[in-house]
């Protein structure tokens, strides 16, 4: 079946993530090994990491990551309310990071103003 390539994102492509090794196996293997270690239980649980990943996925606006971690966080027992709060944390940091730059804007305006 020929895929419509007029769109950049295809949900089915998430399943092909591991195929990135076809164009560079060594680095892909290192990445997936690292990825697996990062998401294993450690000082933070795999469950806590899943919620962090969900929040970060929204900041980097990766639809694949959002699909993957919305499913994973649901499977790991987070409620809709908890997941939405996590996304708000990410959104607050993102908007805060814009707004805190307004200090620079204010500094510059004050610098050039009488």
């Amino acid at each position: 079946m020929t895929k419509n390539r007029d769109q950049y994102y295809h949900a089915d492509d998430l399943k092909k993530f591991t195929h990135i090794g076809q164009f560079g196996k060594e680095l892909a293997d290192k990445f997936f090994d690292y990825y697996g270690s990062v998401f294993a239980d450690g000082a933070l649980t795999a469950r806590e990491k899943s919620l962090i990943a969900l929040a970060v996925a929204h900041v980097v606006q990766c639809p694949y990551c959002i699909d993957a971690y919305a499913t994973d966080a649901t499977e790991k027992g987070y409620s809709e309310k908890q997941m939405m709060e996590a996304v708000h944390v990410a959104a607050a940091i993102r908007s805060g990071s814009s707004l805190v730059h307004s200090v620079q804007m204010m500094n510059k305006v004050n610098e050039i103003s009488m």
């Binding site: 795999a46 499913t71 649901t74 499977e75 790991k76 409620s79």
Partner: protein, 346 residues
């Protein structure tokens, strides 16, 4: 919430043959038997029989969206007292210590209390799969917690989540609040309380097309939320995967999740879970006395692979080491940390 069973609606999925057709041909995944063979586990063979799981009827006061039995108020198939007697006769000759009674809502069978009492006389450990809301469905059921306590029955009850939204989406409007009230009744009778010896286990199953994960963590969350919000205590939480059959299959197809769900089950196939599936030590008895390897096979009408297929002519020698009847739905019990009526298996 679905108001009627597949059977009542004359839905094609009420037919086990139609379900098997879809399972075998409409998801593009390898056959379960091939997967077992790859793992060196084919065929699965039964071990020592330890649990009798008896389904005493499809009648239920609820019509849950995921029900693999297609149970509901409109189902009339229930076990007669004479078939129950055949079960008792067989059990009296067997070294099987545990009898797990399921349904439907088993309490709706008019011979339910008689059957439990007779099983206790045989010295069996009895588990009842109680849907909780039945305790409040009619005055005649209000004293069930006392009946359970007096007979030292172990209770296993479904509660899909500790919030009302997810629970009611799966089990019907108002089910969560009734379930909470029923759990408080069971706690008042001593169930789930430390030191009473009265066991109350809860069963979590996902309210959608996703898998359960992390039974231990989930149990901690359930305990903390139910205690904090409702003062409820319970013993263990069992996490169970939804099988892609019957009304859950209907949901998967309607919501266009079927293929994706089957792929998810396949990708999570775990040979360790396959070595601990519940059919290896369990025999399932249908409402009419027919024998199956598990309750899911029962609903798909996949009878045991031995010549004797009825409780009245049960042959323990033939059943021991029998080859388990498997099909694509078995991916449900072998995914991730495994799934059984007692939760995760690895």
């Amino acid at each position: 919430m679905l108001q009627k069973s597949l059977s009542f609606r004359h839905n094609p999925l009420a037919s086990p043959a139609n379900q098997l057709e879809i399972l075998e041909h409409e998801a593009h995944i390898p056959s379960f038997n091939e997967k077992l063979a790859e793992a060196g586990l084919q065929p699965l063979r039964a071990r020592k029989l330890e649990i009798f799981q008896i389904n005493i009827g499809k009648m239920c006061n609820q019509t849950c969206g995921h029900c693999h039995v297609d149970a509901g108020p409109d189902r009339k198939e229930i076990m007669t007292r004479s078939t129950m007697q055949q079960c008792l006769d067989a059990l009296s000759q067997l070294d099987v210590k545990t009898v797990d009674i399921t349904g439907g809502a088993p309490e709706m069978n008019p011979d339910f209390r008689w059957f439990v009492t007779e099983l206790k006389k045989l010295g069996k450990h009895v588990i009842v799969r109680c849907n909780l809301t039945i305790l409040l469905a009619n005055k005649k059921f209000n004293d069930l917690p006392d009946f359970y306590r007096d007979n030292n029955v172990e209770i296993a009850s479904s509660l899909p989540f500790f919030t009302s939204d997810r629970t009611d989406r799966q089990r019907g409007e108002g089910v969560f609040s009734s379930s909470i009230a029923a759990l408080q009744m069971l706690n008042a009778a001593g169930y789930g309380k430390a030191g009473t010896g009265l066991i109350l286990n809860l069963v979590y199953n996902p309210s959608g097309a996703f898998l359960p994960a992390g039974q231990d963590q989930m149990e901690k969350d359930f305990k903390s939320e139910l205690r904090k919000n409702y003062g409820i205590e319970f013993n263990k939480l069992f996490c169970i995967t939804n099988m892609p059959i019957s009304r859950f299959l209907e949901y998967l197809i309607k919501s266009e999740n079927y293929e994706r769900y089957m792929e998810r089950l396949l990708s999570a196939f775990n040979p360790a879970a396959a070595q601990n599936v519940m059919c290896l030590n369990t025999l399932s008895v249908g409402w009419d006395g027919t024998l199956y390897d598990c309750d899911f096979n029962q609903m798909l009408e996949l009878t045991v692979g031995t010549p004797a297929k009825h409780i009245s002519n049960l042959n323990i020698d033939m059943l021991s080491n029998r080859s388990i009847q498997t099909n694509q739905h078995c991916y449900g019990c072998t995914a991730g940390t495994g799934s059984s009526c007692s939760g995760a298996t690895v």
